[in-house]
Structures are given as C-alpha cells and as structure tokens.
Symmetry: C2
C-alpha cells in the first residue's frame, strides 16, 4: 500500500507561534532498537494521552517536524502513517494532520493518587512488527486434514441471508430469551433435516445446537462422566476427543481400528473386565483413517451397548459428502434400547469458520448440557443459526453440497491418480467413498519428514496434519477437498522430490 | 402470510390414468388429535420416503385430492403448504405441485437387515405446532437486564465488513492455522484498543479472544481452580459466575456489596481465616446493583491481593457506556505485583448476538486456557472477529458507541423521570453514571410479583430480570438501553397499575 503522504506536495499549514516544543516532547534515542518512526509515534501518543496535544489540534507538517527533530522526512511520514493506522490522528484530504476527534469522549480517570501515564508499552510495536513478519512469511498453501474449500463458500448467499436474519431480529425486538440450546428456527429445521438426510427421527427436546461438533463431545463428556469412569476410544483416533476424556479424568482404553473399523471383539473383552461407561466411535469415515464400520460390527457394537449398558458417543463429523456409494445410516437412526449421543457439524459442510454443530441425545442429558453451556458461553450466534436454518429450508445448502460434491470427487480422483503416477509403489491407500481426506500410508523408509520440510521451504504447510506410525507404516491424512488441481500437483511433486537423493 | 394457494384458480393438471391410490396411501383418522392437514402431510412424506412418490413426480391438484380424500380443499392447501415449508415438494409458478428434486441424491442405506421406514415421528408435528403456538404467544416487549438495543445495531455496516472479511479469507486460502485464542487481527487490535480506551498496557501473549465474557470466566475458573479451593464473590452478585465456581467445586464465600461496592473489610477477615485463591469482582457497575467500587476499596483490594496472594478476576462487562462522569480505570491497568484476570465483552457494546469477548491474563494462564478452549469449541468465528477488528480500526465502533451513548443516556433519564413521577416514594434507586441498567429497589410491601404478572398479560416479559430481596427491599434490575420511550411508558404504567386495588 502506498503511503498516504508519499505524493504530498501541497501547502504545509503550521503556525510557528503556537507550535509546541516537539523537540523536547518527543525524546529520540538513536541507539535504541526501536525504529525512529516508532519512537516518534510513541511520543506523539503519550502527548495526546497526557492532553498536551488536544483532540482536533493540528500537527506540524512533515517537512517542519523532520527539521525540528532532525530526522528524514520519510521517517515523519512513517510515524504519521502509523498514528493514522492506530486511529490517533486523522489525515484530511489536503494532507494536513489532526489529532483524531474520536478519542473516547470521557477519558477514564485514575483512582490511584499518583499521576498515571496511559502509554502503551513500546514493546507493543515490536510485537506487532514480529507478527507482521510472521504473516509476511505466510504459507501459500496450507494442507489441512479435511475441510471444505473456503474459496467455494457461497459468500453472497450467506451474507445476504445473514443480513436478512439480522434485520428480522431487529424488527421483532428481543422476543426470544437467550437460548443456550440454540435458535428455535435451527432446532426445528434439524428435526426435518436429520430425518431427510440420515433417517434420524428425533424431537426438539433431544436437540442442542453447539459451536461445532467439538462442543458436543465436550458437553457430553463433562455431563456424563466422572473422574475414574472407563471410556473406550479407537486407535489411531481423534486426539481432541481423547484429550476431552483425559480432561474429565476418565480411564481411557484403546481398541484397534482396522479396515472394518473399530475392533468390537477387543471391545467385548474390555466390557468383560471393566464397567465401561462410554464408547466414543466414528462409524462413518473414522478419523484419521477414513474407514467405515462394517454392518456386522455395527450390530455387534449395539448389542454390546445393550448388554453392558454403556453409552455410545457417535461422532458423525463427515456425513455429507458421498461420491461412489450411499452412506450407511448412523447408528443413532437404527438403534433401539441403546443410549446414543450423536454429534455432527456444519463446519465440515460449509466452512471451518461457521462454528455450528449439533448434538442429539436423550432429554435428560440435553437439559444437563444446557445448564453447562450457559456457564461456558451462554449461547451461540443466534443470527448465524437463523441464517443456516434459512439456507437449509430454501434448499440452498443441498444445492451447495451437490455442487461441491462434484468438485471434491474430482479432487479426490486427481490426488489418487497423481500419487499412483508419481509415487507409485511406496504409498498405500484405500480410496474413501466420500469425505474430504485421503489416508495415505508410506513405507517406513519413506522420507516423510524430509517431504514435510521440503514442502515448508516451498511455502506449503503440512505440519498440522495427523501423522501416525502403525505396523511399520507412516500414515498421513491429506485433506484433498480444499486443494485445487494445481495445488495437488505441487504437493505431489514435493513428495516425489523428497525421494530424490539430490535434494 | 397468505397461503400460496389461496388465490389459485388456474387449470388443474392431473392424469387420472396414472393417479396413485391416495385414498389408501394416506390413512386419515378423523378421531385423532392430530390435525387432518398434518395427517395428510405425514402420509405424503412417508410415501415420498418409501419411493412410492418419486422425486419430480406431480401431485394431484388440490380439488381432486380433496375429493379423493373427502376433506375440504383448504385442508389439502394447508397440507401442501406444510410440505412446501418442509421442502418435501416444490410449488411451481403455475401452482402445480411436484415432489422436490432436492431430496438427497444418494439416499442413505440401512445396515440392518430388516426394512426401515424413514418416517419422522408424527409427534414432531405436534411439537412444532406447540412451538408455533408459543411463538404466536410472543411478548411484545422483553425487558432484559442490560443489553444494547439491537434495533440500533449497525446492520449494513457489519454485513458489509463481514462480507469483505469472508472474501478476503477466501482469497488468502487458509494461511492461518485454526486459532483457539482468536484471530490475530483482533488480538493485535485489542492491544491498542485497550490501551486507548482504558489504559490497559498489554501484549499479544496476554490476550485471548473468547465467546463473550462468560467464556473468559469459565476458562479462567477451570484453569485456575481445583475442587475445594476458596473463592470470594459479592452478594447480590452475578449468578452465572457463582455457578461456574460451584461447577468447579470451589468453596464459595460471599461478601456484602453496598453503596461503595465489594466489602473489602469482610474480605480481609476471610483472608485471615481461609487460603483465598480467587476473588471475583465487578468493580465497575457491579451486577446487579450497578454500584462502583470506591478508590479506597480498590487500593485495599489490591493490597490484600498482594499480601494474601490471591488472584483477582475482574469482570468489566459494562465499561463502554458512560454518561455523566468518567469511568475509573480498571484494576488491571493500575495494579502492580498482583495477579489479575481481566474479562470484557463486545456482546454488551454491539449486540448480545455478537458473541465476542476477551480475557487478559498472564501468559501461563492464557496457554492453559488455550488448550482447554480447543477442547470446548476449537475456536470462535474468525470471520466475525476480523470484522470486529476492522470496525474498531476504522473508528466505526467508536462512532457507534458515541451515537448510542446519547440515546441510552436519554432513555436512562426518561426511565428515572417516569418512575419518580408515577411511582414516587415507593421506589429507591441511585442513578448510575453509565451502563445499560437501573437497579430499582421497591418497598417490601410493593406488589412486585403482581406487576410482573400484569406485565405478562399485556405482552411485556419481565421474568428474566434478576430480582433480589435484601434488607427488606425488593430489587429489580431494569435494562433501559433496549427500551424506547414508548416502551418505558408502558412498563412504568404497568408498575403503577399494580398499585391499584382494582386490578
């Protein structure tokens, strides 16, 4: 961005008679690590906060102040730009500089006897600069573990509906109490949506809208479990669920997840030895391996739940994108006489920034979760929840899923083809029938760490991906949905490159 | 809303040869409690889900179907309207009705052997109807305990900036990792904002953006406290903070809050008898009584914190609206060698639906809170956080505060005047110098419950307001900021009315 001063050549307005002694007001330390323009900006801020420079008063022109302080004029330009960016000064169309009118009308008063200076520490600047450097060093491509492509986000649609929901809310005044279990519009919509998309028959008092599926897991665990309770999870599995159970103080038991999903025989053995309270399970596209729990094991899991009276926590974060085959119905939709908590998410359908998910459970648990959720953050963003309800009811969400499903299927196929073509026999994977990620397993000797390092040097960040070691294979979960073909090309090239001895 | 069928007079298209046996398909029970149109809608949904009515197929016209089922044509119109509202059918411009195309392309498959019908339970309809009745019975005015008037919400501005933030994010691809401590843009902005508005000198690693101030209280309590720890709160006080401390299993001690705020002498006595770990305090506009902690007590509170090594949790939910006098600086800004956790909120500045707050604390606590926040909901709405940062930096937020401050001051003065005029000697209050609520105390014999009941009958909901009994006075916290003058008139009239023996 060009400085707003860089083309300044107009008249400089200052009144020498009333000009303040800036030379003394603004101490400059030429040996300091802090840039000169930052020192000048700090000095100005202090003078404004002390009332020496009054709101609305004019500051000297850049040439005059440069001469007074014996610095280059560009340094003053930078200082004024900084002050303007921080809203301490206004720069008017004729490029004269005034102390901003919008400082708080009533400055806060000290309640201590000594005089207090409201000066931001100079290291704020250093920190901001450090951060600016960090974001200068930004990765061109961040590979994630399976999120929708935010570039395909229906911006205009969502913004329009959001605006509409806002205006509607304002018209209605505040007729709704603040609702920890989510907007009624969305809860009502979910009753039909879940029935239509996944055969889940439910009722309003079983539904809670959450900030993403993660909050469902947290609320359920906190509500259901006490310290020392026995919980079973799959391995490899979803680390943030494991951490929630550890946070509650549960005894965590792990069972293996193979090609048919969660090992229910191992679970049976555990049930014979421990009073299992909760089994956390991702039957559809297990995380990170993307396998689907087989029908036989589903039946057995439900039988075990009935016999041993444990609760199944069914995480169905990835239901919506199916490519080759239909999805199985969730456990929740077919279970009888089994206590199931079902959590799902719209963050994985639309955008990771839309933090809306849901939890379906028995009304007793929902009521307890309601009380806890009030303590955590009172409620979600009701306007955004209304917006989502509108998008579901209008069919816009279905259309968006249909459109992106086609794109994601192509991306999955392209990643698979490129990996087969370029890396060939050193990688193994099963092509998932849906979802947004491919679980790629590499030979033990494959230089995967080198590939990650090489990628980082080329501006591609792989460091957030779950990486596991199992039966002498290294597994990496690559989210293909948010990568376009060119990005997939780059990624596969770098993985290929790491095989070369020259790099 | 007028039914989309009510003016239907065009040609009715149906093919008698291929018409399905709707008489048998749609069982009608005239003795059922469920409305006829709902029974018909349910039957249609079942037929669609079973594949008997195919996607895209035409449904009979309303006249024909009414005749077939022997019901009034209006009943069929209502059933089709219901089906349309639930997205099961599309109604085209010529008013013919087709089964919607947007049913999921790949219907989920059962993994149980028996045939499953994907039928929503009929009681969904009953529930939805109940809810519709509830919202038909909506209150015209909901008096809250001190929230901004959402009718003054700068819709267009926020929507425009939100849209811009969204597009910007999409352009950048996903360069940021998911950030449990909030968007960098907003954290950077807060460094300057807090310095400028309330003299808080802080740095990035001390700042966490939360979902409202409530999440700050929750995260701090969960991170800092163990079961049995001693915590001191004020009484009357903020019930959701008390509940958080109880949730953690803390020993809760109460000290009285009088005209000068928190009783620090009582606190001193407690400190001599218990190892106090945390003191939760609202020095500025205590909830619910709106009193401000006096300078003397502030100094003593800090001294006690230093001597007895407890942490002060400073809840500053209500800093931004000042009318008559400057606000005192927060404890945080002037404390030295004292551990303070400072929480604030933008939900109280812009709208209760904007769930953004912040917590300022030592970096060790912030890091622990970061780990817990990932488990709770991973992160907030980063796009909205970027939007807020833009509004702060552009000065739009200051302008909004300035504009609404003027309006809220007028509303406070009007409520005070009306109460004095109409209720006179039976109420007591101190006029708060800022904030959004008036703490009104009534004589013990004042029929306050009757007033609340009367108000409810007139469509004015007061039932969410904190109501306390202290020293033979009944206290009610009335949020004036979201009531316009006409609404204040209505409210005061009803309170006045309850004094009449005739009502």
């Amino acid at each position: 961005m060009e400085s707003s001063f860089s083309k300044h050549s107009g008249p400089v307005h200052e009144n020498k008679k009333t000009m303040l002694p800036f030379k003394h007001l603004i101490p400059i330390d030429r040996d300091s690590d802090t840039a000169l323009y930052q020192q000048i900006a700090s000095g100005m801020i202090e003078a404004i906060q002390n009332g020496i420079l009054e709101t609305g008063s004019s500051l000297p022109g850049t040439r005059v102040l440069a001469k007074t302080l014996k610095v280059h004029r560009k340094t003053i330009i930078s200082a004024y730009d900084e002050l303007c960016a921080q809203s301490w000064v206004d720069i008017n169309p004729r490029k004269s500089v005034k102390v901003a009118d919008l400082l708080p009308e009533l400055a806060p008063k000290s309640w201590k006897e000594e005089q207090i200076k409201l000066l931001p520490r100079p290291d704020n600047f250093t920190l901001a600069a450090e951060l600016a450097e960090q974001s200068g060093n930004v990765h061109r491509i961040v590979v994630n573990d399976g999120y929708p492509d935010i570039r395909l986000f229906p911006h205009d649609l969502i913004t329009r509906e959001y605006r509409f929901s806002l205006k509607q809310k304002a018209r209605q005044s505040m007729e709704d109490p603040l609702l920890p279990w989510g907007a009624n519009s969305l809860r009502n919509t979910l009753v039909n949506y879940l029935s239509k998309t996944r055969g889940i028959s439910t009722q309003l008092d079983h539904i809670m809208v959450t900030n993403g599926a993660q909050m469902g897991i947290y609320l359920a665990a906190m509500t259901l479990l006490s310290e020392g309770d026995h919980v079973v999870v799959g391995v490899p599995g979803y680390h943030l669920a494991d951490e929630v159970f550890q946070h509650v103080g549960a005894n965590l038991h792990q069972v293996n997840v193979d090609q048919d999903g969660f090992d229910v025989d191992a679970l049976e053995t555990l049930c014979q030895n421990y009073p299992i309270r909760v089994v956390y399970c991702i039957p559809h596209h297990h995380y990170p391996t993307t396998v689907t729990l087989s029908p036989e094991r589903r039946n057995k899991l439900l039988e075990l739940a009935k016999d041993h009276c444990f609760t199944i926590m069914e995480d169905d974060y990835d239901y919506d994108f199916q490519y080759d085959d239909s999805a199985y119905l969730p456990l929740y939709s077919l279970a009888k006489e089994v206590d199931i908590i079902y959590v799902g998410s719209f963050s994985k359908v639309i955008s990771p920034y839309l933090r809306i998910g849901f939890m379906i459970a028995n009304p007793t648990l929902i009521r307890k979760a309601y009380r806890l959720r009030r303590l955590i953050n009172i409620m979600g963003d009701e306007i955004m929840e209304n917006t989502l309800a509108t998008l579901i009811n209008s069919g816009d969400l279905s259309r968006h899923i249909k459109k992106t499903t086609k794109i994601y299927r192509e991306r999955r196929d392209y990643l698979v083809r490129q990996l087969q073509l370029k890396i060939g026999k050193q990688v193994y994977f099963n092509i998932p029938d849906g979802g947004m990620a491919l679980w790629v397993q590499f030979e033990q000797k494959f230089p995967l760490q080198k590939a990650i390092r090489l990628a980082r040097n080329k501006g591609i960040n792989l460091s957030g991906l779950p990486l596991t070691y199992q039966s002498s294979l290294q597994g990496l979960r690559i989210g293909f949905a948010s990568l376009n073909m060119q990005e997939i090309d780059e990624l596969v090239s770098i993985i290929e490159c790491s095989l070369s001895k020259d790099v």
